[in-house]
């Protein structure tokens, strides 16, 4: 019998953390990194938490490391932007016990607002980067990352991508390494980064990276596989799998450590092969360094900077193969949409009716930017809705934004939105902020946050009251309203956008997919009464379809009985029935 288990890349990372003896883990959810923390929470030996944002999470992990236990933080690529502040300086401090940042990039933008490459930030911050290529390596590299962190006195980034994070593969389970906590020793020279201390640490950081680059030539995770030497390929991570699939007989230098690069090893490999290719998704991070050493190689001349790679992509680019693939049939696109019964659809229906523009944010509700709702005008990053609305008001004046609001989810509000709201109060803004409170972090799969009353480890906790928080900041006009009460939502929005002050409208209704959410009703059409006006179709509920004769039909397996279509029907042609 095998002791192998099939594991998602993210589950394997969690297992690696467990086996490495990690004691503290913090994170803010973000696709494709979320399942790391969800799996860590299953190990009772590890304290794990959802922090309000990635900066806080990174600092929690840094503190734990300084105190003398192995600690980690995980996030998606754009989360590292938020956590960059601690990253750049903890790089100078180094660690007491090991500290690992797991950062998940999203080439192909499955669920992100950009395609940034974490390796670029790691280089700027002088932080080493490991990159596994399958679930088994994800687990083993986690353990190695902690060893390296302690040996070289540095935080380590374990970089994954969506394809690794969300692929399952076989993993051999190991035992947990039980480590005694390391004693804490007061070290202002190392942990207080005032200019005089930091100057010395900067020297240390440079030496550390240089030493590691030399040692890395002998790391087992950097390995040259010599076969046919007419083609040599330098690669790492998931692209390694595409290389092996395409060119099983080529010589390959597989890098497990992608920063700093093992220069001597690369020079040796390059000298032994006739033609050298560098295969890496996103930015030419390895390529530019290798070429700067005077090594002749082919990279982004023939490979794209965008999206995910594949074996077929390599077959075309390297082997110039004509793959003779059948063309995809011409079919209607199926973009993601708000679920049947989603409370955001209800609020957006009101905003659309009122002709209001929304400065948007990051979450399911970003989907309000596209047809048929077309309400959201901007989406930049977490928390940006409120601050960008403020910027518009300062640029063009309060009357310019009478037909604007900011929309932000409850979890995003707790992440960074609250800072922006404080700014509106402090800088005497006028504007309406709608907090779409669905009691969860929905997009990433229903994680708790500071305003849900539950921790990642499943314990009850104080539920921060968003209404009271807004009041405490100094906002007088704060309202809570049922997201499905469209008449009331309309009245409040109409009134508040005219107000010469900051207003907050909290529209409340739990995410329709939230566990424990019970639906007592479904909506059913009455075809005899249907006048084919199409009013119920306007919000774009996927449970409603127009039949050939122009009347509508509601799919009873999809409908969650929110009643929005019923509210919009002027002819009583939709009714609620008990389930």
């Amino acid at each position: 019998m095998t002791d192998k288990k099939i594991m998602l890349g993210n589950e394997a990372i969690a297992r690696g953390a467990y086996e490495a003896g990690v004691k503290v883990s913090a994170a803010y959810p973000g696709t494709p990194s979320t399942e790391i923390s969800e799996n860590i929470a299953k190990y009772k030996e590890i304290y794990s938490e959802w922090s309000p944002n990635e900066k806080v999470a990174a600092e929690v992990a840094a503190g734990a490391s300084i105190s003398g236990v192995r600690a980690m933080v995980s996030m998606k690529h754009v989360g590292l932007n938020v956590a960059s502040d601690p990253l750049y300086t903890i790089s100078y401090c180094g660690v007491n016990r090991g500290l690992v940042f797991v950062v998940a990039d999203d080439p192909g933008l499955y669920s992100s607002q950009n395609e940034q490459d974490t390796r670029c930030i790691a280089r700027a911050a002088n932080v080493p980067v490991l990159e596994p290529s399958n679930s088994e390596e994800a687990k083993e590299f986690m353990k190695f990352a902690f060893d390296l962190s302690e040996k070289y006195d540095t935080p380590i980034i374990l970089r994954t991508t969506t394809r690794l994070a969300h692929s399952q593969g076989l993993v051999e389970l190991g035992e947990r390494k039980e480590l005694d906590d390391k004693e804490y020793e007061r070290r202002p020279d190392k942990f207080v980064m005032m200019p005089n201390m930091a100057k010395k640490r900067h020297v240390f950081v440079e030496q550390r990276m240089k030493k590691m680059a030399e040692d890395a030539c002998d790391f087992e995770i950097n390995k040259a596989e010599y076969n046919d030497k007419s083609i040599g390929i330098i690669t790492s991570g998931i692209p390694y799998q595409y290389v092996k699939e395409t060119l099983p007989n080529a010589s390959v230098l597989k890098l497990g450590l992608v920063h700093p690069l093992p220069k001597k090893l690369i020079e040796e490999f390059a000298s032994k092969v006739d033609k050298l290719y560098i295969v890496e998704e996103l930015e030419p991070v390895i390529e530019e360094q290798v070429k700067s050493w005077g090594i002749d190689a082919v990279g982004k001349e023939i490979f794209t900077l965008q999206g995910e790679y594949s074996a077929n992509l390599l077959r075309k680019a390297i082997l110039k193969q004509d793959l003779n693939i059948e063309e995809q049939k011409s079919v209607p696109a199926r973009p993601p949409i708000l679920c049947p019964g989603c409370p955001h659809r209800s609020v957006y229906t009101v905003l659309k009716k009122l002709g209001i523009h929304a400065a948007g944010d990051i979450g399911c509700y970003t989907l309000g930017a596209v047809a048929p709702l077309n309400v959201v005008d901007t989406t930049i990053c977490m928390g940006a809705s409120i601050s960008s609305l403020h910027g518009m008001e300062k640029a063009k004046g309060k009357d310019y934004i009478r037909n604007w609001v900011a929309v932000i989810g409850d979890s995003t509000f707790m992440h960074t939105g609250v800072n922006s709201l404080i700014n509106m109060v402090y800088n005497k803004s006028v504007g309406t902020v709608i907090i779409l409170d669905n009691s969860t972090t929905a997009m990433t799969g229903h994680q708790d946050h500071a305003a849900t009353g539950k921790t990642l480890m499943g314990e009850d906790t104080y539920m921060i009251n968003i209404y009271a928080l807004c009041k405490a900041i100094g906002i007088e006009n704060v309202y809570e309203v049922d997201a499905f009460n469209i008449g009331e939502v309309e009245n409040i929005v109409k009134r508040e956008v005219q107000r010469d002050a900051v207003s907050v409208i909290i529209t409340k209704a739990p995410c329709v997919l939230l566990k424990g959410n019970v639906f007592k009703y479904k909506c059913r059409e009455n075809s005899e009464k249907c006048k084919k006006c199409g009013a119920c179709l306007k919000p774009g509920c996927p449970a409603i379809t127009k039949k050939c004769d122009g009347t509508i039909v509601i799919d009873d397996t999809m409908c969650n009985g929110c009643g929005l279509c019923m509210e919009l029907c002027k002819f009583d042609a939709i009714e609620k029935v008990e389930v």
Binding site: T2, K4, I6, T31, P32, T34, E35, Y110, S111, N134, R163, H166, S167, Q168, G169, L170, I238, Q241, Y242, K244, E245, S310, A311, N312, L323, N324, I325, E326, E327, Q328, K329, V331, P332, A333, R334, P335, P336, I337, L338, C339, C364, T366, L367, V370, A371, P372, M443, T444, G445, L537, G540, P542, I544, T545, K546, D555, T557, M558
Partner: protein, 194 residues
């Protein structure tokens, strides 16, 4: 064994992730190397979703590419059409004959194609059936995906007992019996169609 390539395609929310867990289980029990790749996050919200399953002696890439699929399991007609070009020449496509309009059709920006099954039959080996109707007959619409698994299983090289064993170990314990029944229904549909 040479690597087998399977794709599970459907609409986010249809429960394709459970299906991939069952495929992972059966290939692992048989002692193969296996990789599965799935879609999480925004795309899952009613969008077009794909799961890749690859198993054999040694699997490198976790994705199935165009022209390589031995078997496509489509949870919805339009998604079958969208992904048919992934099939190998002698590949089989199993289609749950359900229509879910994408938002582009709901808003009138596009039309839902007619005669999808007939169109696909001209080029590929197609097995189509209405899993939702079968599930309603069983009195539990939630097991429609287990019916689909049953049909697909009849086109694969694992024994029926092996499948039933994996289902028993994968689904919640309260639903084991109904899921086994659903599997049998699907399996028999598949056997009849061959």
């Amino acid at each position: 064994m040479a690597v087998k390539n399977i794709m599970i395609v459907g609409v986010g929310g249809q429960g394709t992730l459970l299906t991939s867990r069952i495929f992972g289980g059966i290939t692992l029990n048989a002692g193969y190397d296996v990789k599965l790749s799935e879609v999480h996050g925004m795309a899952q919200r009613g969008g077009s979703v794909v799961t890749f399953v690859r198993y054999g002696d040694n699997v490198y890439e976790p994705i199935v590419e165009e022209g390589q699929a031995d078997l496509i399991i489509a949870f919805e007609r339009l998604e079958a059409l969208r992904h048919a070009h992934f099939l190998k020449k002698d590949g089989v496509i199993v289609i749950n004959d359900q229509r879910i309009d994408p938002i582009t059709v709901v808003t009138g920006a596009a039309e839902y194609p007619e005669n999808i099954i007939e169109q696909l039959r001209q080029e590929h080996k197609v097995i189509s059936f209405d899993a939702m109707a079968e599930a309603k007959k069983l009195g539990n619409t939630k097991v429609f995906n287990t019916i689909i698994i049953g049909v697909a299983a009849s086109k694969m090289d694992f024994s029926k007992d092996d499948w039933l064993n994996v289902i028993e170990n994968t689904v919640p314990s309260k639903t084991v019996d109904i899921n086994k029944k659903a599997f049998e229904i699907g399996y028999n549909i598949g056997v009849k169609e061959s």
